[in-house]
Symmetry: C2
Subunit: 381 residues, 2 copies
């Protein structure tokens, strides 16, 4: 249905999770692509190491290192996008009927990646009062979190809860996945410290904590490169590398080489302020339009980062699966909450993306959602 | 050990399976890479469809179509290299304790890809007299074959056996994987008809046979692009697409776009004759040198294609795992047969690659293998 939405003329699609494509540093990347093949044909055209290009692994290790987090290339595996990191973790760790403790609501992609291995998903809610991390993690093969602007809720796990999750993971001896595709997209204040950094120690000379951190260049450089990485204890990286060999042998050498040169030239760091300005403006305009048109039906929190607003219906019997049908007639598309619920029961919320469309389209899209709400509630009553 | 071999100066490494890198059409690919980003930023930088770029799927469908094999894009899934096709087939089809009928000896990569799903491997030997395909395939979830120059044996499955395998798969209702990374590398006669083509029918308007065909551009264009494809019945392609979403979301748009433009410009077809000339010459020189230096210890068939010579020791107690230690001292590296045996028992053969090294290095490599054989047999006696 969401793919079909792009085929309908005048459809305003706020369902996806795509970046604004005009922000990619296109001409610089085009030059780097040509240079990668002419100057580094060994890196870009040949089979590469399973773990990824050594220079890129060293650069990622350097960028993520801090006093408390001593990293080197052996802590880094390059993956085919952030998504592959999730797949490899499942392959390396999960057996049938293993328990996965999952921050809820959870990213659909993660659940899909692991579903073939038939784990048991046990949800936890880190932002609820009285949340007990030890209880949440006990008995799980690993815990899955998106601390920065979790998809779909847009929620941020606060610093205190991050520390308590890290402490619980260490105490119990459970792996804790920090999936971080939105970690640079903070609009209102500087980023909180990552859990992998909180879990490290200046006394070590190599990281040996319980975090498996998953990052990606898809948000700042270009998703079409499919360059992501896992950072973890070097024994875990070795296990993930074995599973990567049987998954796709190695990631594209060409896009890894371009990524390395782009990061060395700090293209991503030059692009990021522009991205943040654009996305902040879009978030603000979307939320203002929602205030004007949708507050009769929904409540929401203005997200401090990420790509989505998560709006929950005020009335418990409001059905967003049904709303989507009316919305499609009004030529607007959002993601209903049922697709994020493994049982498909939660039909009370919608996820609205604000990164892909310009402000005037977001405002028009909200107006159309309001028309759909009105049409549905009129017919239902 | 094989990776380490590349770090030792003067080592002649005949263990890998790498193409000769000078044959990649480097300057053309560099221009196409730049053009892909400047002219087609949507294709190359954004997230693409899970199934792959539509234009590339259509082109692959067209190239593989024939009167008996009516294909369209719905029969084609783009994969991250040929290796990913194997992984996706395992994810889509295998449950624990399922039987996989495997042409033996088998490609290590395939076994590794499926091992996490714990299938039971049942070998079959299509070149042996009295081979019974129905017996080989009955009860298996799928059968795995490399009809063209199977790795490591370099064997070709003849046309009659191909037909009988297809007939058995149809009769029993088993999927039959035709893994074809070496399908264009014929040095002595034109390629035999593919099983997917033998299994099609001019009466259909869309392929619905039992073959899952896996192809790749790694041998003719560049492995660093990680562009491969699966061709099958469209329902099977739909299943594989679901598993691909949870594996890496989509393959690199940039390398898919370059691949599409390279194929449209027939760069691969211009390159192939040069590749065949080089590889044919190397095979001939390798086999001549083996005749001169190794015939006391080994026998082998001169392969009519592919990348490897499979040499079996004349004496049954000759141990090639041990030989490798002597070979490393002589600064030459080959692959011992134990790594292709799931139980690790077969230590009687070696696989020698002839595509990566120039002729004089191959000749010197064989001379060194002979020195290693002499050193080992002297000590052992």
């Amino acid at each position: 249905m969401f793919l079909a939405a792009n085929q309908i003329p005048d459809m305003i699609n706020m369902a996806g999770g795509l970046p604004e494509s005009s922000i990619y540093p296109q001409s610089e990347l085009a030059d780097l692509a040509k240079q990668a093949i002419t100057k580094y044909p060994g890196d870009s055209l040949d089979y590469g190491p399973i773990e990824g290009l050594t220079a890129l692994r060293e650069l990622i290790a350097l960028r993520f290192s801090s006093e408390n987090l001593p990293l080197n290339k052996d802590n880094v595996l390059i993956t085919t996008g952030g998504m592959q990191g999730l797949d490899l973790v499942g392959k390396a760790l999960l057996d049938e009927d293993d328990i996965v403790a999952c921050q809820s609501p959870a990213y659909l992609g993660a659940l899909d990646a692991w579903r073939p291995r038939q784990p048991i998903y046990r949800p936890f809610f880190p932002e609820e009062p009285g949340f007990n991390p030890t209880e949440a993690l006990t008995g799980a093969k690993f815990a899955y979190t998106v601390p920065n602007f979790s998809n779909p809720s847009g929620k941020l796990i606060d610093s205190k809860t991050r520390r308590s999750l890290v402490a619980a993971a260490k105490e119990i001896g459970t792996w804790l996945i920090e999936d971080d595709p939105y970690g640079t997209l903070y609009y209102d204040h500087p980023p909180l410290e990552r859990m992998i950094s909180l879990s490290g120690s200046a006394e070590e000379n190599n990281y040996s904590g319980p975090i498996i951190y998953l990052g990606t260049l898809s948000k700042e450089l270009a998703p079409g490169f499919r360059v992501g990485w896992a950072i973890a204890d070097k024994k875990m990286i070795a296990s993930l590398t074995v599973t990567k060999q049987g998954s796709d042998m190695c990631s594209s050498g060409l896009t890894q080489r371009i990524a390395y040169d782009a990061l060395t030239n700090e293209l991503d760091r030059q692009t990021l302020p522009k991205i943040l300005d654009i996305y902040r403006g879009r978030r603000d305009q979307l939320c203002k339009a929602m205030e004007d048109h949708l507050s009769d039906w929904f409540h929401w929190e203005v997200p401090v980062g990420g790509m989505f607003v998560w709006a929950v219906a005020k009335k418990p019997n409001f059905n967003t699966d049904q709303l989507l049908k009316y919305a499609m007639q009004e030529k607007v598309c959002v993601t209903p909450s049922s697709v994020f619920d493994p049982e498909g029961n939660n039909a009370r919320a919608i996820r609205i993306n604000f990164t892909r469309n310009p402000e005037e389209k977001l405002i028009e899209g909200v107006r159309r959602i309001a028309l759909a709400c009105r049409a549905m509630t009129k017919e239902t009553i």
